[in-house]
């Protein structure tokens, strides 16, 4: 057990994009009865922060409200924002592009990942490149993508795809490799073959890895969408945010940022739930230990 906690042990269940994942101490390790108490404390601390913020800006006027509007102003903007029709069209536009890009990334990433993980020739020749590409800051290509595809949805989708595809691809590849080694042997022992082997062993064995990749990919894809809108501003959430900040409507801008934080967290939570639903046996800690 002592060694199991070294994150770099080789040979165990390794998720490809490990360096971009962190162990989240599991809830069950916590004292259940204390959990509610901590939540209360958390709420109290958040409330205290908001109070100090409000006090510093509105009552003591230590910071000019133009720079940092108080929480009450931000809250008011937030309420205004969610009843504005142009907010919802921007919301639909951004999330629509994000969804298309991520779906494309999932299709391409899973197919390529499975193939590279499965065929040794590809693993030796192509995989090193994928690793190299994975670890390069692909956001730098954004201006070129906009140059090629123009301002608008197409370049944003391409950017989402570009950023989201690699974690999905590499995790799937790593999953296929793991399945390859042990589970297939076990499947064969029990008489699974051909398609049955694929459906009963390969797919469920790879799925948890792919879902880890999809979770990471969706987060990166969101970065791609927002960046695409900053650079090539058609109507989306990022565009709305940039305009608000440019006009120095800081209450609006902060409310927009909060919206994005909520969207990002909701997306991750939903995929996290999917992971629990479809791969409850997958020990998240096991993946993290390895890398």
């Amino acid at each position: 057990m002592a060694r199991a906690l070294e994150p770099q042990e080789g040979g165990r269940l390794v998720t490809a994009t490990m360096p971009l994942k962190i162990v989240r101490p599991s809830r069950s390790a916590a004292r259940g009865s204390g959990e509610g108490r901590w939540r209360l404390l958390l709420a109290a601390v958040v409330l205290a922060i908001l109070l100090v913020w409000e006090a510093a800006v509105s009552w003591l006027q230590l910071v000019p409200a133009v720079f940092l509007p108080p929480p009450t102003a931000v809250a008011a903007s937030f309420v205004e924002l969610v009843v504005r029709p142009d907010f919802w069209s921007a919301f639909g536009y951004s999330l629509g592009n994000l969804a298309i890009g991520v779906v494309l990334a999932v299709v391409i990433g899973v197919v390529v990942g499975l193939a590279v993980g499965w065929f040794p020739v590809l693993r030796f020749t192509v995989a090193p490149f994928l690793w190299l590409l994975y670890s390069t800051p692909k956001v730098a290509l954004a201006p070129l993508i906009i140059l090629i595809l123009g301002l608008g949805a197409a370049s944003q989708i391409a950017l989402v795809l570009l950023l989201a595809v690699f974690p999905i691809m590499l995790n799937t590849m790593e999953g296929a490799l793991t399945v390859n080694k042990s589970l297939v042997n076990a499947g064969r022992v029990f008489g699974a073959n051909g398609i049955a082997l694929g459906v009963k062993v390969l797919l469920p064995g790879t799925l948890p890895f792919s879902l880890v990749g999809i979770q990471r990919g969706a987060a990166l894809g969101f970065t791609g969408q927002v960046l695409g809108e900053f650079l090539g501003g058609a109507g989306g959430l990022g565009h709305l945010l940039e305009r608000a900040a440019f006009d120095f409507q800081m209450d609006d801008a902060i409310a927009m940022v909060i919206v994005m934080v909520i969207i990002a967290n909701l997306t991750l939570t939903v995929i996290g739930l999917l992971r629990k639903r479809f791969a409850p046996w997958h020990d998240d800690r096991a993946t993290v230990k390895a890398g």
Partner: protein, 280 residues
Amino acid sequence: MSSLFAAPSGLRAQRGVAGFIAGLSPRGRALLIVTEVVLLLLLWQFLVGTLGLVNAVFFPPPLDVAQGFVELVQQGTLAQNAAVSVQSWLTGFAIAVAIGVPLGLLMGSSVPVDRVFGPIAWTLYAAPAVAYQPLTKAWFGFGTGPVIFLIVISAIFPIMLNLAAGIRTTSPSLIRAARVYGGSRMDVYRKILLPAAVPFLFAGLRQGAVLATIGMVVAELTGSSVGMGAVIIRSANTYNTDQSFAAIMLIVIWSVSMTQLVGLVERWLAPWNRRKGAAS
């Protein structure tokens, strides 16, 4: 698809090309990769540069990129902007380490801090750092301020959260061993928890280095008149994409060098924990 399921490689000795490659030494494999890269570059040069199959503005062939690099050097653009970027990166990363490490230690060793601060940190970390960019632009203006801020915001969470997780998941039996042999609370902290968290810290630093570069590029692309990101934007807007590609290559080299450097420091400081495989 059916052939995909047909021949699991683990079941028999590998034949053909795969078998040949699998039998190569690490150096032989590295050579193979280098050969592949060279062949790809040659093919690219041939298809785009010689045959003109694709518009060279969109995919400038290697020789053009080299030309672009020379131009950047001769104009003095490179030295000036690279210096700005490197300085922002190092400053931002140093700040992220200086804040992230103590906070991570605190989170790892105190349950209340972990329970209260952890959820806040995870929530902020989940959102793309790029979303904070317009705010920082409004706050810090157009200098390197927003760039450094975005680097800090990008790098700080992985460092902090990994370190905290490392301390928190230390094997209880190591802690028991320390207590059995007379360790005080301080001994347990110094001799068990801290060394046990070292690999996690480095995992966080490596991850932070990658994210810091992304944060830097995003910030420089969207709101800076200096730095490598600004060079990319400017050259792309004037259709000098050969220069853009040269700049991108340099950023890639920087990013890879920094993660390798973190790995080197780790191997030097934590030799007991040699990593297998080279993936960063």
